[in-house]
Amino acid sequence: MDTAHLRVFRGEPNEPGRYEEFDVPVEEGMVVLDALHWVQGHAAPDLAVRWNCKAAKCGSCSAEVDGRPRLTCKTRLSDFDLDQPITVEPMRAFPLIRDLVTDVSWNYAVNATIEPFKPPDDVPQSEWRWQQEDIERVQEYRKCIECFLCQDVCHVLRNHETERPFMGPRFLVRAAGLEMHPLDQADRREYLKDAGGIGYCNITKCCTEVCPEHIKITDNAIIPLKERVADEFYDPIQIVWRTLRGRRPGSAAGAELPVLPTGPGGTSDGGSS
């Protein structure tokens, strides 16, 4: 039977952290999460791993495998050269809890600042009608399983590049799903520009590359949102019109995003994009 050599980050905050090596017997079709479970069941019962469905539907088991952000339940051992060690590390963008588990609560705090779906007051639900092709794009955004790999890989968040907070690709996708819902009445453009920091995204598309749901985050969500914001705030005709009609703040304008704390210090610099 083949053996995989796992090199797994272990440690807690406020300690340097270390890599422990485990030889794991390989069965056909095995994924990295299976190997981590084998380690828990046979070698390191307290190895901290976050997971739930093991079917790429819940987005819990995110980690960095050989430096690349991945769902460990969907990462096949057969994709690796088993003569080389496979390095498994926690997501770098978020603060460490222990071993492979990070504190992703910042994402939930950001999410709470987004104005939810707002249906029209004057159209009774019995009259709501829309065609499948009208919602295909919205359904694409809503495939998101909140694995936060896009947040992890986003250099703006990962490297703490900006003075003001940036909501990150995940929440631009959520906002896009709301803004482009056929019946939504809210206007999140000012929120996206100011609190959300949409301008910080410089379209490197790293988020799209790591998305396990294959959502075209940059092309289909962020760029259309940027265009909407630009039309509202940077189009000269709109500026004149807005001056004439007076200022109307949009939904959740003036909201403040929390600041993302720094990620695990103990991981290697080996890295993703």
Binding site: E12, G29, D46, A56, R76, R98, N111, P119, R129, E146
Partner: protein, 611 residues
């Protein structure tokens, strides 16, 4: 005020344990009534098992089939449950499911559409009409995200990654929930005027399951320990189609939507075996020939109506699971011990559009392209019909102040659940349990005076119990005990049962309980999965014993409970009887029966002459 000094204590009018669909819906209901609500969950918000539900939510909206109505949905549910369902629950469920689904749409859910722009519905096993509102094959994700966003916007306090290990009870009934933060291991206490359990199922008692680690029967066991009754625990649903290969994904769910969209089951000889297994009394509801089944599928894929009847693969889950098991057992299985499920005769783009996550799942995890060839599937432990006995209208358990909803509650599904009825169950009864808890809470004095006294002795006991597995210097490894438990349940309390096996299972479970009490955990308190497992094991062993004792008592076969030594359904002896499990005075588990409530004449009339 903390009953024990230095213990982190939170007080809410209503505390909900579990944040899947039922827990979220209950929390939303209580919050909408203006109460303070705490929502406690073992995982991150939005990761609960609801997220894995695929095929759809059953509700008689009548968008695709004009003839559908709550009365037909009620009748299908009762027939599917072999008339062991609580009729009042089945009635409330069928009547209220359409309103609960429409409510989700008002809250932002984006369901697939009919050609005239309304919510699309798909056929499923045991449902007379196309009834399942859906979003491709990721309906559960759409539902949990919609409910989660609603709960967050409403301002519900969410305690993520907190595990509850004990309910604290007193003369007033349930008074508090005790547990720990998984990140730090620190103890935490939730005082409440009313507590709702919405903890889901028990699948981790078995080796082959579609369930995640969270499904350890926590709510069942917490309620049982607190003095509540469990009913119908012998009824464990083995979903007919789980993946069987490769080994790492064995048990992973293959949605019934594959069969709903026309998937055909064949054995290794190419025989479409479901024709052989249709029960005679329902045969008239199914196509008579391959040709008629094909006409039904073609009409469905083109969005046309048809007079063709549905294919035999859409029989109820208990029946299809037994059929597959029997085919494999009798030597007609595939090389990996399953049968073939084939949807590749439909156009590839149609399959990818209707079943996108199945397409991905097989491509990524099994190197199988389901648009080009068949899947290999076999039964997998999926759902427990049995659960905490509740009052149908309010979700009240037999313990004052304690409510339950969703999979951990019993009664709704009888002896076998129809696909799609769990998502509607958790919406309907989540809302009802939330309302039940709300009225209980507002009937207490307002403010601090309304909180029941929390016995500090019980809290200290729970605190000691929490630390014990870490402090033992020797003992059994929790992972080893879990492996042995799963082997026992899989081999002795599986799809087909027999008295001698069940006796042996109870002997083994007693030994496992002994070992579980001496479990020793390596490492510390911070995010230690071995420590989590130590508490889950206790719950799993309790529910396993409840399943085995109930299964041993019921000397007949009905729905998901099949006794090789009692193959007939024995209506004279067992019809209308629920199994009941409760803790006896001496701490042992007592099993008995109780009669189903009388079904009112107007509901009985809907069931037809036989019942």
């Amino acid at each position: 005020m903390p009953p024990v000094t230095n213990l982190e204590t939170h007080s809410h009018d209503v505390v909900v344990i579990g944040a899947g669909g039922a827990g979220l819906r209950a929390a939303i209901e209580a919050k909408a009534a203006g109460l303070s609500v705490g929502l406690v969950c073992k995982s991150l918000l939005g990761k609960a098992h609801t997220v894995m539900a695929e095929g759809g939510v059953a509700a008689a909206l009548g968008n695709v089939a004009d003839a559908d109505s709550w009365q037909v949905h009620f009748r299908d549910t009762m027939a599917g449950g072999k008339y062991l369902n609580n009729a009042r629950m089945a009635q409330l469920h069928a009547m209220e499911a359409p309103a609960r689904v429409n409510e989700l749409e008002r809250w932002g859910a984006v369901f697939d559409r009919t050609p005239d722009g309304r919510i699309l519905q798909r056929p499923f096993g045991g449902h007379s009409h196309a009834r399942l509102a859906h979003v491709g094959d990721r309906t559960g994700l759409e539902m949990i995200r919609t409910l989660q966003d609603r709960a967050v916007a409403a301002g519900i306090d969410v305690y993520m990654e907190a595990t509850i290990t004990r309910l604290i009870t007193g003369r007033a009934g349930a008074t508090a929930a005790f547990g720990y933060w998984r990140a730090t291991g620190s103890p935490i206490l939730f005082r409440a005027k009313a507590i709702v359990l919405a903890t889901g199922g028990i699948g981790k008692a078995y080796e082959v399951t579609s369930n995640s680690w969270e499904y350890s029967g926590d709510g069942h066991a917490l309620a049982y320990e607190a003095g509540a009754e469990l009913i119908d625990m012998e009824f464990v649903q083995f979903h007919p189609t789980g993946m069987v290969w490769p080994p790492g994904v064995r048990g992973l769910l293959v949605t019934e939507a594959v069969r709903g969209e026309g998937g055909i089951l064949r054995n290794k000889d190419g025989e479409r075996f479901m024709w052989k297994y249709l029960p005679d009394e329902r045969r008239g509801e199914y196509a008579a020939t391959d040709e008629e089944a094909t006409r039904w599928v073609t009409a469905l894929s083109e969005g046309r109506r048809t007079d063709a009847r549905r294919p035999p693969e859409l029989s109820t889950r208990d029946n299809v699971a037994r059929a597959i098991y029997t085919e494999v057992k009798e030597g007609r299985g595939t090389p990996h011990g399953g049968v073939y499920l084939d949807i590749s005769y439909l156009p590839p783009e149609h399959v990818r559009r209707k079943l996108p996550s199945m397409y991905e799942q097989f491509k990524e995890l099994a190197d199988v392209d389901i648009t080009k060839g068949p899947m290999e599937v076999g039964p997998t432990t999926h759902y427990v019909m049995g659960g905490i006995r509740v009052e149908p209208d309010s979700g009240a358990t037999t313990v004052p102040g304690l409510f339950a909803a969703g999979e951990c509650a019993g009664g709704m599904h009888g002896a076998n659940r129809l696909g799609g009825n769990s998502l509607s169950d958790l919406l309907v009864f989540g809302a009802r349990a939330g309302a039940g808890a709300t009225s209980h809470a507002i009937n207490q004095p307002s403010g601090e005076a309304g909180f029941p006294h929390v016995d500090p002795v019980n809290v200290r006991e729970a605190t000691r119990e929490l630390a014990a597995p870490l402090e033992r210097v020797s003992g059994d490894d929790p992972y080893a005990i879990q492996r042995d438990l799963q082997a026992t349940m899989q081999s002795l309390v599986g799809i087909f049962r027999v008295q001698a096996d069940l006796d042996e299972a109870l002997t083994q479970l007693a030994a496992l309980r002994e070992r579980g009490q001496r479990v020793q955990v390596a490492g510390g308190r911070s995010f230690n999965p071995g420590w989590d497992l130590a508490f889950e094991l206790r719950n799993l062993i309790t529910v396993s014993e409840a399943i085995a004792r109930s299964a041993r008592q019921r000397t007949e076969s009905r729905g998901a409970h099949s006794r090789l030594d009692h193959p007939e359904t024995d209506d004279a002896r067992w019809g209308g009887l629920n199994s009941v499990v409760a803790r006896a005075e001496d701490g042992t588990m007592a099993v008995s029966t109780s009669s189903l409530p009388t079904v009112p004449d107007e509901l009985r009339a809907l069931l037809g002459t036989a019942h």
